[in-house]
Symmetry: C2
Subunit: 345 residues, 2 copies
Amino acid sequence: MNTVALAFDLGGTELRGALVERSGGVIARVSAPTLAGAGSEAVIGQIITLADKLLKQHPQAKVVGIGMCAPGPLDPKAGIVIGPPTLAGWHNVPLIDILSRQFGLPVRLENDANAAALGEWRFGAGRGTGSLVFVTVSTGIGGGVVADGHIYHGRRGLAAEIGHMTITGEGDRCFCGAIGCFEAVASGTALGRRATRLTAPGDGSLLRRLAKDGDISARHVVEAARTGDATACRLVEAEARWLGIGFTNLLHLYSPDLIVMGGGLANGFDLLAPGIRATVEERAMPAYRDVPIVPAELGDRAGLVGAASLILWEGEPGTALAMVQNDETRSGAGGQDEPALAPRA
Amino acid sequence: MNTVALAFDLGGTELRGALVERSGGVIARVSAPTLAGAGSEAVIGQIITLADKLLKQHPQAKVVGIGMCAPGPLDPKAGIVIGPPTLAGWHNVPLIDILSRQFGLPVRLENDANAAALGEWRFGAGRGTGSLVFVTVSTGIGGGVVADGHIYHGRRGLAAEIGHMTITGEGDRCFCGAIGCFEAVASGTALGRRATRLTAPGDGSLLRRLAKDGDISARHVVEAARTGDATACRLVEAEARWLGIGFTNLLHLYSPDLIVMGGGLANGFDLLAPGIRATVEERAMPAYRDVPIVPAELGDRAGLVGAASLILWEGEPGTALAMVQNDETRSGAGGQDEPALAPRA
């Protein structure tokens, strides 16, 4: 068996673990609902339990380290989870120290959006590009940037907080307190909210029927738009425009080779793409207009394989990133639970 | 005599040249009005003339190379000036090739905002910090980012086009065609335009008197606000708010250790600072609120010393930046035309 990394993606809802090969292949996966309200010790106990489960499934695995991602803010260099809003009782938890003592293995920590950006760059939609901005659009909007051969960290690892970039003076107040955050107008939550306001329980609209007369979610809007429902199509159009405005800013600010859109709303990427593209063509300066905007390829594996690659591919934090060579992604993918990632067309 | 670099800062209005030491000290300066309408050959002729003038002034100078900055878009790695709006007839001019053949010296090219960012980082307001965003606010708004040990270039060197980041849905249309660009609402031009609209020729206002009843410039607004003029103070307050919104975005996106504000409007930095700070405190997420925002220190030397440092301090393009050590900035500054930069307090 090739060497593998233990990988964990700690979310506010779900804790996922995997054994990941150097090729990006996931050879085993486990998960559990995160004990998000129970404090850090309980969740670290869950990580240990899941690790045991994975290692029992693959007792011959040559595990060389643990790659871990968690919600920000966190300090990737110090290995400290600072205090994510979705995890109660986590304040400055030295996760790298704790896990490396527990397992006697090297541990690397990265915030979830950065890890997903790295995963998509090495093994997914961004393979072969020099740089990318990964944008996850779901309940909120998060991002990660791989550029000039580095994950763009900035001070305390806090760069690419793109959900709280102001792009307008209108709309609902963001949970952060400001008006006009990208997240407040363009997240899946914002889209669902707009749909809910445009309709009323019992009005017979497709949107409300899909939502069983409750609040409408972004998923319902995408589903209704797929059938050609006029209200849903208008909502998708407005959503695409907000995304296009935000993405244009990302082009001007980071000048990536590629923007990769992930998160729940990426399920509607095909519907959103024409509107996003039209807005970018209208608003971006000419030199930025030809940058591809593509959907993520790795789904919920992106964070896991990105985190694993910190162990399997990286030198010390801060050194330039190693890029996957094509022959390496093609090899070593036989006989796994999950197929290895196909080489790029 | 220490080794020096020839440095040129090619602007749409003025072409500046200097001999710069490794310490950042400028030992000679020359300039000429740029023959901006006459095409690239004429301007390159001016560069050669200014170089001769500098070398005649300091015949013992050990010139080790030429550092050059010019308006974007330009490709710093290829050494090509792509086509700046302010320089007629410049289309894909291979400036590095031309100058290195002319002088038989290594030549490095950087866009003007990036060079100024580098200058301020090495020798000015950003000395000793790990990363900074440099924002120049004058006719337009430009920027440069030094982070994680690199000038942040992005694809084709086009990153940090911060003037065309959308921050609102209101205001005058930007010259780029979009509504709500940072530059369109927060540049010196935008401030002057607001002042001109608020007043009328012959209305006896201080602003119009300062402008001799013509259009009011940002400089007039700052001058009037210094005397306590109520209209000017309100205009400064609104300007500071727009700057604060844009700077908050820069904090969230790049997470620098420091924001440095340069350009003509930095002359009013002391008046603008309280409003900028209040807006950042109100809008930035808590982890970003304590990042200092300071005025640039090098004025119009920033681009020159930054460009020179590409020759005197750098390895190949793309390698990590060397940081100036304190003992180096303190030494070698005796007997020059211009005093060496004082060590930071």
